[in-house]
C-alpha cells in the first residue's frame, strides 16, 4: 500500500516536530512505502519467540 504524502507531512510536523521540504514529501512517501512493504512482506514467518536482540547469540551459535 502506498503511503500518502500528507501522512509524511503530518508525521514530520506532529510526531517529529520537524519542518519538511515540500519537494521531498512525495519522494519520501514512495521510499517509506518501499521499506514498509519489504518488512511487512516478510513478517509472516516471525513468531512471538523471535526477539529483536537474538542476533548476537545466533552468530555465536553458528561460529566456527
Amino acid at each position: 500500500m502506498q503511503v500518502a504524502p500528507n501522512l509524511i507531512e503530518q508525521i514530520a510536523q506532529q510526531l517529529q516536530h520537524m519542518t519538511i521540504d515540500p519537494a521531498r514529501v512525495s519522494e519520501l512517501a514512495i521510499e517509506v512505502s518501499r521499506l514498509n512493504g519489504a518488512v511487512l512482506g516478510a513478517i509472516d514467518d516471525l513468531t512471538f519467540d523471535d526477539e529483536p536482540v537474538a542476533f548476537r547469540a545466533l552468530l555465536e551459535r553458528y561460529s566456527r
Partner: protein, 485 residues
C-alpha cells in the same frame, strides 16, 4: 631507498622494523614523501599529523633499541578513516557539522593500535557521515581512485583504500555498514575485510547504524589484514555489541598455505543478475585459480537478495535518522543533499517495522546459513558487478536522476546483504578492466571464521599479482580539491 620502503607490505615492514633492518622513522618518512606527492591528486587525507608521526616513530625506534617491542605493529605508519575518536583531536566523520568537534575519549581500536606500537599519520577522507559508496564529499573534496583520478575511490572508506593502494600508508582502518570497506578496497585494488559483527569494537567510532556498522582493516594483502585484525579485535566492555572473545590469532592460518579440499560455494549465474562481461571473465578466471589450488567449487542456492537489502536499509535509515534527527532539523543546510536524503526516510518508519526488521535479521541469517552456507566453508560472490565508474557518472549531488542513482545503488548489491547477515566478508583483487581499473571478488565466511577467509585469499595472492600492481601518479584532475589540514 625510501621509495622502495613505501612499497613494502605491512607485514614486511613490521618484520623489518622488528629485526632492526628498517627504522620506524625511515618507514614514516617514506610514507610522508609519497603523501606529499599524491595528496594533490587523490585527496586521501583530511588531516596530516606529520610532526607527531615523526616524533612517535622516533620514540618507537628508541623503545626498540631498549629491547621493548610493543606489539605486532611496532613502528608501522598507518592512518584511518576520520571517524575514529582520539581524545583531544577532531574527528569530522567527513562532515561540516563535526568539523570543529573535539573527541572526549579515544576509540578502543586506536588505543589497541597504539598498544601494538603503530604510528598514526593522520585522518583519511571519507563519504560524509559514512553515507555513500562512491567517495564523493562536498565538504573536504572528493577522494579519487588510486589507479585513475577520474574514477571513484569508492565509499565510504574512500581515503583508507586509496591511501593503501597508492602506498601512502601500510594499512588503514575503515568501517563498513553496507559496502564501505569492501567496495573502496575493490575499486582500488587492495584487500579489505569486513569481520564478523562484534569481532572488533565500535566504541569511539562515529556511528552510521549501530546494528550494521563493522570496523575492519584495509591492507595490500590478506596477511596485512590479519595483522591489523589481530591487533584490533577482542572483547570490549565499552561496546555492547562486541563479542566476548579473545583477539583473533592467525599465526597458524598461513603456515599451512593450502586450501586443499576447501569447499567454496558459487551461486548459479541466474541468481546473480547482470554482471558486466569483463567482470564475469575475471571472476571466472579467479575461481579457476582457487580450484587449481585445491578448492572444491560447488553451486549453492542463493536467496533473492532484495529482502536482505531492504531489511538492511530499514535498519540503516531508522538508526541514522535517530542519530541525525537533531541536526536534520537545525542544520539541514550543512548536509550535502545526497547525504540528507539517505537518512531522512528513517524518520517515517514505524517503530514496529524497525523492531520487526531486527527480528527478521536473525531469521534471515539463520535461513541463509542453513540454505547457502551449510555445505560449504566459503561463499564466492562478485563485488562491484561493473567496471569502476567515474566520479562524474556517479555524482548524485550534481547530476542526480534515476540513471545515476541506479549505478550507485548497484555498487552495493552484493555487499549490503552481507552486513545484515553479520558474516565476515573479504574483498580480494582479481584483475583489471580494459581501462586499467581494478576488479575484485568477495569471499563470505561462517561467523567468526575470518581465518579461513584470510587463508583462502592468501593462497590466491601467493599465485597472483593483482594486489602487487602499484598505481602510477597522474596529474591532478581539474576538480581535485583540498590539501590536508
Amino acid at each position: 631507498m625510501s621509495r622502495e620502503l613505501a612499497l613494502l607490505d605491512l607485514s614486511e615492514v613490521a618484520a623489518g622494523i622488528a629485526s632492526g633492518d628498517i627504522s620506524s622513522v625511515a618507514a614514516t618518512e617514506a610514507c610522508l614523501e609519497r603523501i606529499h606527492e599524491w595528496q594533490p591528486v587523490l585527496n586521501c587525507f583530511i588531516r596530516l599529523d606529520e610532526d607527531s608521526a615523526l616524533r612517535t616513530a622516533a620514540e618507537r625506534d628508541r623503545e626498540l633499541a631498549r629491547g621493548c617491542r610493543r606489539g605486532c605493529l611496532h613502528g608501522v605508519p598507518l592512518a584511518h578513516k576520520d571517524l575514529f575518536y582520539r581524545e583531544g583531536q577532531i574527528s569530522t566523520a567527513g562532515s561540516l557539522i563535526l568539523h570543529e568537534q573535539t573527541a572526549r575519549f579515544t576509540a578502543t581500536v586506536l588505543r589497541r593500535l597504539d598498544d601494538a606500537g603503530a604510528v598514526d599519520l593522520g585522518t583519511l577522507n571519507m563519504s560524509e557521515f559514512a553515507a555513500g559508496p562512491t567517495g564523493h564529499n562536498v565538504h573536504f573534496g572528493n577522494c579519487h581512485n588510486a589507479f585513475h583520478p577520474d574514477h571513484v575511490a569508492g565509499g565510504s572508506s574512500s581515503g583508507s583504500a586509496a591511501a593503501v593502494a597508492a602506498r601512502l600508508v601500510f594499512g588503514a582502518l575503515g568501517t563498513d555498514t553496507g559496502a564501505s570497506i569492501r567496495v573502496p578496497a575493490a575499486v582500488n585494488g587492495v584487500t579489505g575485510l569486513k569481520p564478523t559483527y562484534g569481532r572488533i569494537s565500535r566504541y569511539g567510532v562515529f556511528p552510521r547504524s549501530w546494528s550494521l556498522d563493522h570496523v575492519g582493516p584495509i591492507g595490500r594483502t590478506a596477511r596485512d589484514c590479519a595483522l591489523l585484525l589481530q591487533a584490533t579485535s577482542g572483547r570490549d566492555p565499552h561496546d555492547p555489541s562486541a563479542a566476548d572473545r579473545l583477539p583473533a590469532q592467525f599465526e597458524d592460518a598461513f603456515d599451512t598455505n593450502r586450501i586443499d579440499g576447501l569447499r567454496i560455494g558459487v551461486p548459479a549465474e541466474s541468481a546473480l543478475g547482470e554482471i558486466h562481461p569483463e567482470i564475469a571473465a575475471a571472476l571466472l578466471e579467479a575461481r579457476k585459480t582457487l580450484e587449481k589450488l585445491g578448492a572444491k567449487i560447488r553451486t549453492v542456492p542463493f536467496p533473492d537478495p532484495k529482502p536482505l537489502y531492504f531489511v538492511a536499509e530499514t535498519l540503516i535509515k531508522s538508526e541514522s535518522a535517530a542519530i541525525h534527527r537533531k541536526w536534520l532539523n537545525t542544520r539541514t543546510q550543512d548536509y550535502a543533499a545526497h547525504v540528507r536524503v539517505r537518512i531522512e526516510a528513517g524518520l517515517y518508519v514505524p517503530a514496529t517495522q524497525y523492531i520487526d526488521a531486527l527480528r527478521l535479521r536473525t531469521l534471515l541469517t539463520e535461513r541463509f546459513i542453513h540454505q547457502t552456507m551449510a555445505e560449504i566453508d566459503l561463499l564466492y560472490l562478485p563485488l562491484v558487478p561493473f567496471p569502476v565508474p567515474t566520479i562524474a557518472e556517479t555524482d548524485v549531488e550534481q547530476k542526480g536522476g534515476e540513471e545515476v542513482l541506479g549505478v550507485v545503488g548497484r555498487m552495493t548489491q552484493f555487499t549490503r546483504p552481507i552486513n545484515l547477515l553479520g558474516l565476515p566478508a573479504l574483498s580480494v583483487p582479481c584483475g583489471f578492466c580494459s581501462k586499467g581499473l581494478p576488479i575484485a571478488f568477495q569471499l563470505v565466511g561462517h561467523p567468526f571464521d575470518e581465518a579461513t577467509l584470510l587463508r583462502a585469499a592468501d593462497a590466491f595472492q601467493q599465485v597472483t599479482d593483482y594486489h602487487r600492481r602499484v598505481p602510477v601518479l597522474r596529474s591532478a584532475p581539474a576538480q581535485s580539491s583540498t590539501v590536508a589540514r
